[in-house]
Amino acid sequence: MLTRLPDKKLLFILAALLAAAISCRPREKWHSFTLLFFDTVCDIQVFCPSEKLPAARDAICRAFGSCQERFSPGSQDLSDRLVLELYQKALQVNRASAGCFDITVGSLIDLWGFSSRAYRIPGPEEVEAVLPLVGMAKINFEENALVLPPGVKLDWGGIAKGWGVDLAAQAVVSLGITRGFINAGGDLYCWGPNPDHQNWRVGIKNPRERGYLGVILVTDMGVATSGDYQRYFERNGRRYHHLFDPETGYPAQGKRSVTVVGPETALCDALSTALFVSSDPEKIIRNYPAYGAILVDDQGGVAAVGKSFPFNRLDGP
């Protein structure tokens, strides 16, 4: 008994030290905030101590800001390191998709009035005249810079936002934040468990009605969607959207939306456009074994291709 008394004291001191350590440790909690970049609302939810939040917000703003600055229409330094890096990613998807994804559709975007919002249906001869300006093979790479032939115009809209999300997520994770999501207008990356300690529930918008088509359950993944309902105009009951088939110069037909899930949001972003445009999306996704997609065809039919992820249909027949 005499020898046990000091043990008890020691235990008490240890317990007190432990309690002090726990109480001194910054308390982590969920923080949500909204930013406006890329002409859209960006939702962020992170699990971290309040003291870390300003650093996280700054890191996201820096990542989004540098992407927005470099890849907005008309503001391109074609020798910038980030521009060249993203060009390489875009080129890789362009090749893997047999040209279905192409960042040189800028002149088509202009021709159809999507850049000015003065929407119009160009005549066939106008489309024919612009097609020679489309095609990534036309971009030259000289002395560490991209060189565009006269008239060729880049549109990074199909990949830059996703890449901004990747850069922002990397920056936030490097701060030691282990749970959260960053969603820039539908292009998102989520990591760690959600507030219910489950995988994140990502709702896929129904392309024709209010509400969701379904919910995918993912974590440590990027998600991006391309749809004919995001930017479009209607003439004589027909819908003309902004996802152009680089081969024809007309909006791609046959699908309402494509959602891609995979490790990199930038690739999800680019692949969602490529699969939307392609008539054989399965062939493209086979080149990306870590990626899967949910396609909604023009009749409302839903199909999954590539790697499968848990998907709960909400509006199913």
Partner: protein
């Protein structure tokens, strides 16, 4: 009787097609198929389970064709607060009756959008087992058609207004109102009418916010990017975040 047997019974009775067709003509999203000579006994527990999900515009019921147990059903539902209607109305319960050619064990199935709902996780499972255990055969099939709200559409209770990243106000959707907000970029007027919120005026260039349809479902938003202005309907979300 398991679910497969139940369907087999319907098919064997040669009535599946006409009954399904009949249910579809009602444009109802859901139907309760009930084999029982005394449907009045089974309806209370089933309705108790689905009552909270039936559209509240309902709580009225009607018979689409003569039903031998109409009086019993009428009495049971009246006791539960349902009102009889001469004609089927949207959102209510519509009963129809079919005589089974081959008497079968009492049973029921809930069918939603053409698919059988899994009831094993619900209290209805006990009711199902009790019915099947009775052993007495029945030749009376009652079909109750009704609408369930879509699972992915939950109306919100309030709309929150943000400008320049700051929360300005939370407006209840239950009360009609018009409220101006002074943002850094100019005044924006928000209106709530009949439970739906919308932007009534904004000096922004493209007027996308003004053209946006009114919002009322939890999570729905109206965004005015140039004005850094955001309306968001608050409420329980089915999802953590959204793509598309």
């Amino acid at each position: 009787m398991n679910r497969r047997d139940f369907l087999r019974t319907l098919l064997a009775a040669g009535i599946a097609a006409p009954t399904l067709l009949e249910a579809r003509t009602l444009r109802s999203s859901s139907a309760l198929y009930l084999i029982s000579d005394s449907p009045g006994d089974v309806l209370p527990p089933v309705l108790a389970e689905i009552d909270s999900r039936i559209q509240k515009a309902g709580r009225r019921f009607a018979f689409l064709n003569p039903h031998p147990n109409a009086e019993e059903i009428n009495k049971t539902l009246s006791a539960l607060g349902w009102k009889f209607d001469q004609r089927a109305s949207a959102g209510g319960l519509a009963f129809s009756f079919q005589r089974l050619g081959l008497p079968s064990l009492p049973s029921f199935a809930l069918i939603r959008s053409g698919r059988i709902c899994d009831i094993r996780s619900q209290r209805l499972w006990q009711t199902w087992k009790k019915m099947a255990a009775s052993g007495a055969l029945s030749s009376c099939l009652t079909i109750a058609s009704f609408d369930l709200p879509r699972r992915n559409q939950i109306p919100g209770k309030a709309v929150t207004v943000y400008a320049d990243g700051k929360r300005l106000a939370s407006l209840p959707l239950a009360r009609d109102l018009v409220k101006p907000f002074h943002t850094r970029a100019g005044p924006v007027v928000v209106g709530v009418e009949a439970g739906r919120a919308k932007v009534l005026s904004s000096p922004c260039q493209h007027r996308v916010c003004l053209a946006s349809p009114p919002v009322f479902l939890a999570g729905e938003r109206i965004v005015c990017a140039p004005r850094h202005f955001l309306l968001e309907v608050e409420g329980p979300h089915l999802v953590d975040t959204v793509t598309g």
